[in-house]
Symmetry: C2
Protein backbone atom coordinates (compact mmCIF):
# COMPACT_ATOMS: atom_id res chain seq x y z
CA UNK A 1 0.00 0.00 0.00
CA UNK A 2 1.24 3.50 -0.86
CA UNK A 3 2.13 5.76 2.06
CA UNK A 4 1.40 9.48 1.81
CA UNK A 5 3.98 11.31 3.88
CA UNK A 6 1.89 14.10 5.34
CA UNK A 7 0.43 15.26 8.62
CA UNK A 8 -2.43 16.99 6.84
CA UNK A 9 -5.70 15.05 7.17
CA UNK A 10 -7.46 17.06 4.47
CA UNK A 11 -4.77 16.18 1.95
CA UNK A 12 -4.89 12.54 3.01
CA UNK A 13 -8.67 12.39 2.56
CA UNK A 14 -8.44 13.95 -0.89
CA UNK A 15 -5.79 11.40 -1.88
CA UNK A 16 -7.85 8.50 -0.52
CA UNK A 17 -10.91 9.63 -2.49
CA UNK A 18 -8.93 9.44 -5.71
CA UNK A 19 -6.40 6.66 -5.15
CA UNK A 20 -8.42 4.42 -2.85
CA UNK A 21 -6.62 2.54 -0.16
CA UNK A 22 -3.55 4.51 0.92
CA UNK A 23 -2.29 5.22 4.38
CA UNK A 24 -0.36 8.15 5.76
CA UNK A 25 2.55 8.70 8.02
CA UNK A 26 3.71 11.98 9.48
CA UNK A 27 7.46 12.19 9.22
CA UNK A 28 9.09 15.45 10.08
CA UNK A 29 10.83 16.02 6.75
CA UNK A 30 12.63 19.36 6.83
CA UNK A 31 11.85 21.57 3.84
CA UNK A 32 14.94 22.95 2.22
CA UNK A 33 15.11 26.65 1.42
CA UNK A 34 14.37 26.72 -2.25
CA UNK A 35 12.01 28.48 -4.67
CA UNK A 36 12.02 25.57 -7.09
CA UNK A 37 9.26 23.21 -5.92
CA UNK A 38 10.75 20.28 -7.80
CA UNK A 39 13.92 20.57 -5.72
CA UNK A 40 11.87 20.74 -2.52
CA UNK A 41 10.18 17.49 -3.52
CA UNK A 42 13.49 15.86 -4.52
CA UNK A 43 14.99 16.70 -1.12
CA UNK A 44 11.96 15.27 0.68
CA UNK A 45 12.17 12.06 -1.31
CA UNK A 46 15.87 11.74 -0.59
CA UNK A 47 15.30 12.21 3.12
CA UNK A 48 12.46 9.68 3.28
CA UNK A 49 14.53 7.23 1.25
CA UNK A 50 17.45 7.61 3.69
CA UNK A 51 15.09 6.52 6.44
CA UNK A 52 14.43 3.28 4.58
CA UNK A 53 10.99 4.19 3.28
CA UNK A 54 9.67 2.92 -0.03
CA UNK A 55 6.43 3.06 -2.03
CA UNK A 56 5.51 6.53 -0.81
CA UNK A 57 4.36 9.91 -2.11
CA UNK A 58 5.29 13.42 -1.02
CA UNK A 59 3.48 16.56 -2.09
CA UNK A 60 4.10 20.28 -2.48
CA UNK A 61 1.52 22.91 -3.34
CA UNK A 62 2.91 26.33 -4.16
CA UNK A 63 1.56 29.70 -5.24
CA UNK A 64 3.45 31.73 -7.85
CA UNK A 65 2.63 35.41 -8.27
CA UNK A 66 3.41 37.03 -11.63
CA UNK A 67 3.68 40.46 -10.00
CA UNK A 68 6.43 39.17 -7.71
CA UNK A 69 8.29 37.34 -10.50
CA UNK A 70 7.22 33.96 -9.20
CA UNK A 71 7.57 34.53 -5.49
CA UNK A 72 6.58 33.13 -3.09
CA UNK A 73 6.32 29.68 -4.73
CA UNK A 74 7.14 27.06 -2.06
CA UNK A 75 7.84 29.92 0.39
CA UNK A 76 4.10 30.68 0.50
CA UNK A 77 3.73 29.37 4.07
CA UNK A 78 6.10 32.03 5.40
CA UNK A 79 4.39 34.81 3.45
CA UNK A 80 1.05 33.73 4.90
CA UNK A 81 2.54 33.34 8.35
CA UNK A 82 4.06 36.84 8.38
CA UNK A 83 1.61 38.81 6.23
CA UNK A 84 -1.69 36.93 6.17
CA UNK A 85 -3.97 36.97 3.13
CA UNK A 86 -4.63 40.69 3.51
CA UNK A 87 -0.90 41.50 3.55
CA UNK A 88 -0.20 39.14 0.68
CA UNK A 89 -2.90 40.81 -1.38
CA UNK A 90 -1.43 44.19 -0.40
CA UNK A 91 1.99 43.23 -1.75
CA UNK A 92 0.58 43.07 -5.26
CA UNK A 93 -0.40 46.75 -5.31
CA UNK A 94 -0.39 47.99 -8.91
CA UNK A 95 1.47 44.92 -10.13
CA UNK A 96 -0.03 42.07 -12.15
CA UNK A 97 -2.55 40.02 -10.19
CA UNK A 98 -1.98 36.88 -12.26
CA UNK A 99 -1.06 33.81 -10.25
CA UNK A 100 -0.39 30.12 -10.73
CA UNK A 101 -1.21 27.43 -8.20
CA UNK A 102 0.73 24.23 -8.66
CA UNK A 103 0.81 20.86 -6.93
CA UNK A 104 3.66 18.45 -7.52
CA UNK A 105 3.48 14.89 -6.24
CA UNK A 106 6.65 12.84 -6.13
CA UNK A 107 6.16 9.08 -6.14
CA UNK A 108 8.95 6.74 -5.04
CA UNK A 109 7.97 3.18 -5.90
CA UNK A 110 9.10 -0.23 -4.59
CA UNK A 111 11.81 -0.44 -7.25
CA UNK A 112 13.25 2.93 -6.33
CA UNK A 113 11.90 4.69 -9.43
CA UNK A 114 10.79 8.30 -8.98
CA UNK A 115 8.02 9.92 -11.01
CA UNK A 116 6.50 13.42 -10.75
CA UNK A 117 2.86 14.29 -11.30
CA UNK A 118 1.68 17.87 -11.62
CA UNK A 119 -1.54 19.80 -11.46
CA UNK A 120 -1.64 23.46 -12.45
CA UNK A 121 -4.40 26.06 -12.06
CA UNK A 122 -4.11 29.59 -13.45
CA UNK A 123 -5.95 32.37 -11.69
CA UNK A 124 -5.68 35.76 -10.10
CA UNK A 125 -5.15 37.29 -6.71
CA UNK A 126 -8.16 39.14 -5.34
CA UNK A 127 -9.07 40.84 -2.03
CA UNK A 128 -9.64 38.16 0.64
CA UNK A 129 -13.16 36.72 0.32
CA UNK A 130 -14.83 33.68 1.88
CA UNK A 131 -13.88 31.24 4.62
CA UNK A 132 -10.45 31.85 6.06
CA UNK A 133 -9.70 28.39 7.38
CA UNK A 134 -7.47 27.10 4.61
CA UNK A 135 -4.27 28.89 3.62
CA UNK A 136 -4.48 31.29 0.70
CA UNK A 137 -7.85 30.03 -0.56
CA UNK A 138 -9.50 33.44 0.18
CA UNK A 139 -7.29 35.36 -2.29
CA UNK A 140 -7.08 32.88 -5.18
CA UNK A 141 -9.75 33.01 -7.87
CA UNK A 142 -9.22 30.40 -10.60
CA UNK A 143 -9.71 31.65 -14.16
CA UNK A 144 -13.20 31.05 -15.53
CA UNK A 145 -14.80 31.14 -12.08
CA UNK A 146 -16.51 33.92 -10.19
CA UNK A 147 -15.55 32.63 -6.72
CA UNK A 148 -12.33 32.29 -4.76
CA UNK A 149 -11.37 28.81 -3.58
CA UNK A 150 -12.56 29.88 -0.14
CA UNK A 151 -16.05 30.68 -1.44
CA UNK A 152 -16.49 27.34 -3.18
CA UNK A 153 -18.04 24.21 -1.73
CA UNK A 154 -15.64 21.25 -1.46
CA UNK A 155 -17.34 19.75 -4.53
CA UNK A 156 -16.82 22.93 -6.56
CA UNK A 157 -13.23 23.27 -5.40
CA UNK A 158 -12.43 19.65 -6.17
CA UNK A 159 -13.53 20.27 -9.75
CA UNK A 160 -10.71 22.78 -10.25
CA UNK A 161 -8.18 21.64 -7.64
CA UNK A 162 -4.52 21.44 -8.71
CA UNK A 163 -4.04 18.76 -6.06
CA UNK A 164 -6.81 16.65 -7.55
CA UNK A 165 -5.28 17.04 -11.01
CA UNK A 166 -1.89 15.87 -9.72
CA UNK A 167 -3.52 12.92 -7.96
CA UNK A 168 -5.39 11.98 -11.16
CA UNK A 169 -2.08 12.06 -13.05
CA UNK A 170 -0.56 9.75 -10.44
CA UNK A 171 -3.60 7.46 -10.64
CA UNK A 172 -3.18 7.20 -14.41
CA UNK A 173 0.49 6.37 -13.94
CA UNK A 174 -0.29 3.66 -11.38
CA UNK A 175 -2.88 2.22 -13.74
CA UNK A 176 -0.36 2.10 -16.60
CA UNK A 177 2.02 0.28 -14.27
CA UNK A 178 -0.68 -2.27 -13.57
CA UNK A 179 -0.97 -1.23 -9.94
CA UNK B 1 42.33 25.95 14.12
CA UNK B 2 38.73 27.06 13.66
CA UNK B 3 37.07 26.22 10.36
CA UNK B 4 34.61 28.68 8.84
CA UNK B 5 32.09 26.70 6.84
CA UNK B 6 31.52 29.01 3.91
CA UNK B 7 32.22 29.28 0.22
CA UNK B 8 32.24 33.09 0.40
CA UNK B 9 35.76 34.50 0.19
CA UNK B 10 34.70 37.98 1.32
CA UNK B 11 33.21 36.57 4.50
CA UNK B 12 36.31 34.45 5.09
CA UNK B 13 38.61 37.47 4.68
CA UNK B 14 36.55 39.52 7.12
CA UNK B 15 36.68 36.68 9.66
CA UNK B 16 40.43 36.29 9.23
CA UNK B 17 40.98 40.00 9.81
CA UNK B 18 39.25 39.77 13.15
CA UNK B 19 39.98 36.26 14.39
CA UNK B 20 43.39 35.76 12.86
CA UNK B 21 44.34 32.34 11.68
CA UNK B 22 41.21 30.46 10.61
CA UNK B 23 40.65 28.35 7.55
CA UNK B 24 37.55 27.70 5.54
CA UNK B 25 35.85 24.79 3.97
CA UNK B 26 32.96 24.84 1.59
CA UNK B 27 30.48 22.18 2.56
CA UNK B 28 27.19 22.09 0.79
CA UNK B 29 24.97 22.48 3.85
CA UNK B 30 21.35 22.68 2.75
CA UNK B 31 19.48 25.62 4.26
CA UNK B 32 16.21 24.62 5.81
CA UNK B 33 13.11 26.61 4.97
CA UNK B 34 12.70 28.79 8.01
CA UNK B 35 12.24 32.47 8.84
CA UNK B 36 13.94 32.09 12.24
CA UNK B 37 17.67 32.58 11.57
CA UNK B 38 18.61 30.81 14.80
CA UNK B 39 16.91 27.64 13.55
CA UNK B 40 18.72 27.94 10.22
CA UNK B 41 22.02 28.10 12.12
CA UNK B 42 21.06 25.19 14.40
CA UNK B 43 20.24 23.01 11.41
CA UNK B 44 23.56 23.87 9.74
CA UNK B 45 25.48 23.01 12.92
CA UNK B 46 23.63 19.72 13.24
CA UNK B 47 24.41 18.81 9.66
CA UNK B 48 28.12 19.68 9.95
CA UNK B 49 28.31 17.79 13.24
CA UNK B 50 26.77 14.70 11.62
CA UNK B 51 29.62 14.79 9.12
CA UNK B 52 32.10 14.53 11.97
CA UNK B 53 33.21 18.17 11.96
CA UNK B 54 34.27 19.98 15.10
CA UNK B 55 35.67 23.39 16.06
CA UNK B 56 33.82 25.23 13.32
CA UNK B 57 31.64 28.29 12.76
CA UNK B 58 28.61 28.80 10.55
CA UNK B 59 27.07 32.15 9.74
CA UNK B 60 23.76 33.64 8.65
CA UNK B 61 23.12 37.24 7.71
CA UNK B 62 19.49 38.18 7.30
CA UNK B 63 17.48 41.29 6.52
CA UNK B 64 14.22 41.92 8.37
CA UNK B 65 11.79 44.51 7.00
CA UNK B 66 9.35 46.13 9.43
CA UNK B 67 6.91 46.89 6.62
CA UNK B 68 6.74 43.18 5.76
CA UNK B 69 6.40 42.05 9.38
CA UNK B 70 9.93 40.71 9.44
CA UNK B 71 10.08 39.13 6.01
CA UNK B 72 12.30 38.20 4.29
CA UNK B 73 14.74 37.42 7.13
CA UNK B 74 16.83 34.40 6.08
CA UNK B 75 14.76 34.20 2.90
CA UNK B 76 16.45 37.38 1.63
CA UNK B 77 18.46 35.54 -1.02
CA UNK B 78 15.29 34.43 -2.81
CA UNK B 79 13.76 37.90 -2.66
CA UNK B 80 16.93 39.32 -4.22
CA UNK B 81 17.07 36.53 -6.75
CA UNK B 82 13.48 37.04 -7.90
CA UNK B 83 12.99 40.77 -7.40
CA UNK B 84 16.40 42.43 -7.29
CA UNK B 85 17.08 45.48 -5.13
CA UNK B 86 14.71 47.62 -7.18
CA UNK B 87 11.86 45.14 -6.75
CA UNK B 88 12.62 44.67 -3.06
CA UNK B 89 12.51 48.44 -2.56
CA UNK B 90 9.25 48.52 -4.54
CA UNK B 91 7.63 46.00 -2.19
CA UNK B 92 7.84 48.50 0.66
CA UNK B 93 5.61 51.06 -1.10
CA UNK B 94 3.84 53.15 1.54
CA UNK B 95 4.81 50.77 4.34
CA UNK B 96 7.46 51.41 6.98
CA UNK B 97 10.99 51.52 5.57
CA UNK B 98 12.60 50.46 8.86
CA UNK B 99 14.82 47.42 8.61
CA UNK B 100 17.15 45.32 10.74
CA UNK B 101 20.26 43.58 9.47
CA UNK B 102 21.44 40.75 11.66
CA UNK B 103 24.35 38.34 11.58
CA UNK B 104 24.35 35.23 13.75
CA UNK B 105 27.46 33.12 14.09
CA UNK B 106 27.15 29.65 15.57
CA UNK B 107 30.34 28.23 17.05
CA UNK B 108 30.68 24.50 17.70
CA UNK B 109 33.82 23.89 19.74
CA UNK B 110 36.05 20.85 20.30
CA UNK B 111 34.01 19.81 23.35
CA UNK B 112 30.75 19.93 21.42
CA UNK B 113 29.54 23.15 23.09
CA UNK B 114 27.54 25.52 20.92
CA UNK B 115 27.50 29.29 21.39
CA UNK B 116 25.80 32.02 19.35
CA UNK B 117 27.20 35.45 18.65
CA UNK B 118 25.09 38.23 17.15
CA UNK B 119 25.61 41.55 15.49
CA UNK B 120 22.64 43.80 14.78
CA UNK B 121 22.39 47.01 12.73
CA UNK B 122 19.22 49.07 12.51
CA UNK B 123 18.59 51.07 9.39
CA UNK B 124 16.16 51.84 6.61
CA UNK B 125 15.40 50.70 3.10
CA UNK B 126 16.10 53.35 0.45
CA UNK B 127 16.07 53.43 -3.38
CA UNK B 128 19.05 51.43 -4.71
CA UNK B 129 22.21 53.58 -4.61
CA UNK B 130 25.88 52.72 -5.05
CA UNK B 131 27.77 49.65 -6.22
CA UNK B 132 25.55 46.71 -6.98
CA UNK B 133 28.02 43.89 -6.49
CA UNK B 134 27.07 42.76 -3.02
CA UNK B 135 23.58 41.59 -2.17
CA UNK B 136 21.21 44.14 -0.72
CA UNK B 137 23.93 46.67 0.20
CA UNK B 138 22.49 49.25 -2.28
CA UNK B 139 19.15 49.54 -0.44
CA UNK B 140 20.28 49.41 3.20
CA UNK B 141 21.22 52.67 4.92
CA UNK B 142 22.29 52.16 8.54
CA UNK B 143 20.85 54.67 11.03
CA UNK B 144 23.13 57.63 11.71
CA UNK B 145 24.76 57.42 8.30
CA UNK B 146 24.09 59.24 5.06
CA UNK B 147 25.26 56.44 2.79
CA UNK B 148 24.00 52.98 1.91
CA UNK B 149 26.34 50.06 2.57
CA UNK B 150 27.00 50.02 -1.17
CA UNK B 151 28.21 53.64 -1.17
CA UNK B 152 30.66 53.10 1.69
CA UNK B 153 34.32 52.14 1.38
CA UNK B 154 35.19 48.76 2.95
CA UNK B 155 36.68 50.66 5.90
CA UNK B 156 33.49 52.66 6.46
CA UNK B 157 31.32 49.59 6.09
CA UNK B 158 33.44 47.54 8.47
CA UNK B 159 32.85 50.20 11.13
CA UNK B 160 29.12 49.48 11.12
CA UNK B 161 29.02 45.89 9.88
CA UNK B 162 26.73 43.47 11.70
CA UNK B 163 29.05 40.67 10.61
CA UNK B 164 32.05 42.40 12.19
CA UNK B 165 30.08 42.88 15.43
CA UNK B 166 29.21 39.19 15.55
CA UNK B 167 32.84 38.26 14.87
CA UNK B 168 34.01 40.60 17.66
CA UNK B 169 31.55 38.90 20.01
CA UNK B 170 32.95 35.54 19.04
CA UNK B 171 36.50 36.84 19.50
CA UNK B 172 35.64 38.00 23.04
CA UNK B 173 34.16 34.59 23.78
CA UNK B 174 37.27 32.79 22.49
CA UNK B 175 39.45 35.07 24.58
CA UNK B 176 37.39 34.33 27.71
CA UNK B 177 37.83 30.63 26.99
CA UNK B 178 41.59 31.17 26.82
CA UNK B 179 41.68 30.32 23.14
Amino acid sequence: MITFITGNQNKLREAQEILGNINSHEYDLAEIQEVDARKVIEAKILEAQKRGLSNFIVEDTSLYLDGLNGLPGPLIKWFLDKLGNEGLFGLIGEKSSRATAKTIIGYYDEQGNVTYHEGVVEGEIVPPTGDTNFGWDPIFKPNGHEKTFAEMSSEEKNEVSMRRMALEELKKHLHEQGK
